[in-house]
Amino acid sequence: MADAQSLKQLVLGRKDVQDLSDNEAELPPELMTVNMGPSHPAMHGTVRIVLTVDGEKIVKSDIQPGYLHRCFEKESEHATYTQVFPYTDRLNYVSPMINNVGWAMAVEKLMDLTGKLPKRAEYIRVIVSEMSRITDHATCIGASAMELGAFTPFLYLLKAREWLYELLEKVSGARLTHSYARVGGVSKDLPLDFDADLTRCLDRIDGVVVDVEKMLLSNKIFYDRVVGIGAMSKEDAIKTGCVGPIARSCGVDYDVRRDFPYSVYPELEFDVPLGTTGDCYDRYLVRLEELRQSARILRQCLKQIPDGEIMSDDHRVALPPKKDTYNTIESMIRHFKHIMDGVRVPAGEGYAFVEGGNGELGFFIVSDGTGRPYKAYCRSPSFVHLSTAGQLIHDHYIADVVPIFGMINMIGGECDK
């Protein structure tokens, strides 16, 4: 049993309780290795960082992803093209709709269906994608702010996110894992009163964004923690393959929706916000502006969306009408083959990409003519962005790892596949 004096020495590590001097010469001079993660409260998802620190300063880091690896690609090779949709939901689980749309577009590219979908289906896809982008950015900003001590913006933004999730639940039937898109269109039409619901929701979100902006924009504590932290130059951002909000915050003027337009984005008007310094504060500003731009796109979509079909009438991808399935043997067989063998995609290879919540999300598919992909590769933006994190946290303090990782917005499911 230790007496009181030695216990204090053990706990405080000082020779004398009264000795409060912080003499530099007494600090250990050697480098220290610290494990951060795999399960750390301030990490989005599970990732392990082995830090070599000099005092509190990071001199070397080894980032080890893979704790959430669920064999997306191997599983996809054994599933039909339609069965892959639930897997894509679980890639970036903050914006699953964009993953759904990305996968559908990749399969359609191989079937030469790009641009041949009904207008209404394309508009619905853009609407759900942009709603997902808002949920993605809201989560990123909210969680990052919370990790820096600002809990109120987190609650405000999550409240806004919940409104959109409720609406997406009305659309797809599931709150988070929607599996909504299909090869050749979408699975269901928009529910009744969707226009009014979404308009009301967007108006309320506008208010939330203003509130959050007021709380964070000139908040001294938030400002000091993010300005100048994790800065990246424009050249570095380009050659490390960064895209999306992170590259745009560094001044890279590139947005898939504008530069390689897909779906009905050419008919919509939006601005691409750019940062200048590429630090965490710029990443926050760019995401905040993109929230507003997404709302702007959504309002235009609601005005422009035409009536019509939500599924291509190409018999290779569309299920026969239920009436025929139950009444004619040909349609029943077609239905059976469609479900059991999957959508038959002609042999070939192709890479299709969309602007995901974090940047260019792409799928590279090799088909051998059957209903299952021969190879399915996911180009996940989080993985590419995480690979730059080692460079970003270099020469910063341990406390800075938190805002840098928060603003990289690494999503475990997408990064680790």
């Binding site: 080890q64 992803p65 893979g66 690896h69 064999c71 690609e73 191997k74 599983e75 090779e77 054994h78 590219k109 191989l110 030469d112 790009t114 380009i238 050659k239 490390t240 393959g241 895209v243 890279v252 590139y254 530069d259 390689f260 002609p346 042999a347 070939g348 290879e349 192709g350 890479y351 990409f353 260019e360 792409g362 590279f364 090799v366 088909s367 051998d368 003519g369 059957t370 021969y374 190879k375 590769y377 180009r379 993985f383 590419v384 995480l386 690979s387 730059t388 680790d416 596949k417």
Partner: protein, 187 residues
């Protein structure tokens, strides 16, 4: 637009580019392994090309490739290289894209690394090594990235069974699952 890039590449390196093609709007150039670095350096540095930004690197394993509706000559057999490594590049300024494909054999699955040209390929090549066992010569730090060091085999190769499990930790001290124990006895 991208078509011109592939044509310019074929004209500049007639011996390095074995063939070019276009699939569903993607421009592809098949490159000989030994010329990959020279071709990639030119694509990056030539102002008319300016492929400054890498997109992805992955590999295709052709082992089970028997495409439906195609002649048998297009099926994979032992005389053909088993792997194709794909590098997708993008030019932010010119808005071009190109895919470089390099064929490597099963006996000698290695090719020069492009991580020195574009830092993004550092992790991407590690992933390809992890999943397909392709060795990248000159890579600064070729380790597994998703899986653990003790993992045996390469899971995305077609001859790796989907159901195969390799738990890292064997815990003999844990209580035995009674259902599993009963199964074991019945055999």
């Amino acid at each position: 637009m991208s078509k011109q890039v592939v044509d310019a590449l074929a004209a500049k390196f007639p011996s390095a580019v074995t063939r070019t093609g276009s699939a569903h709007g993607d421009e592809i150039a098949w490159i000989k392994r030994d010329d990959l670095v020279a071709v990639a350096t030119w694509l990056r540095d030539d102002p008319a090309m300016a492929f400054d930004s890498p997109v992805f690197c992955t590999c295709i394993d052709w082992l089970d490739y028997r495409p439906i509706g195609r002649p048998v000559s297009e099926h994979w057999n032992e005389t053909k290289p088993r792997f194709t490594v794909c590098y997708q590049l993008r030019s932010i300024a010119k808005k071009n894209r190109i895919r470089l494909e390099v064929e490597v054999t099963e006996a000698d699955p290695r090719l020069p690394s492009l991580a020195g040209l574009w830092p993004a390929f550092d992790w991407q090549e590690r992933e390809t090594f992890d999943m397909y066992g392709i060795r990248f010569d000159g890579h600064p730090d070729l380790r597994r990235i998703y899986l653990y060091e003790e993992f045996v085999g390469y899971p995305l190769r077609k001859d790796y069974p989907k159901e195969k499990r390799q738990p890292l930790v064997r815990r003999d001290d844990l209580p035995v699952n009674p259902l599993k124990a009963a199964e074991g006895k019945s055999h």
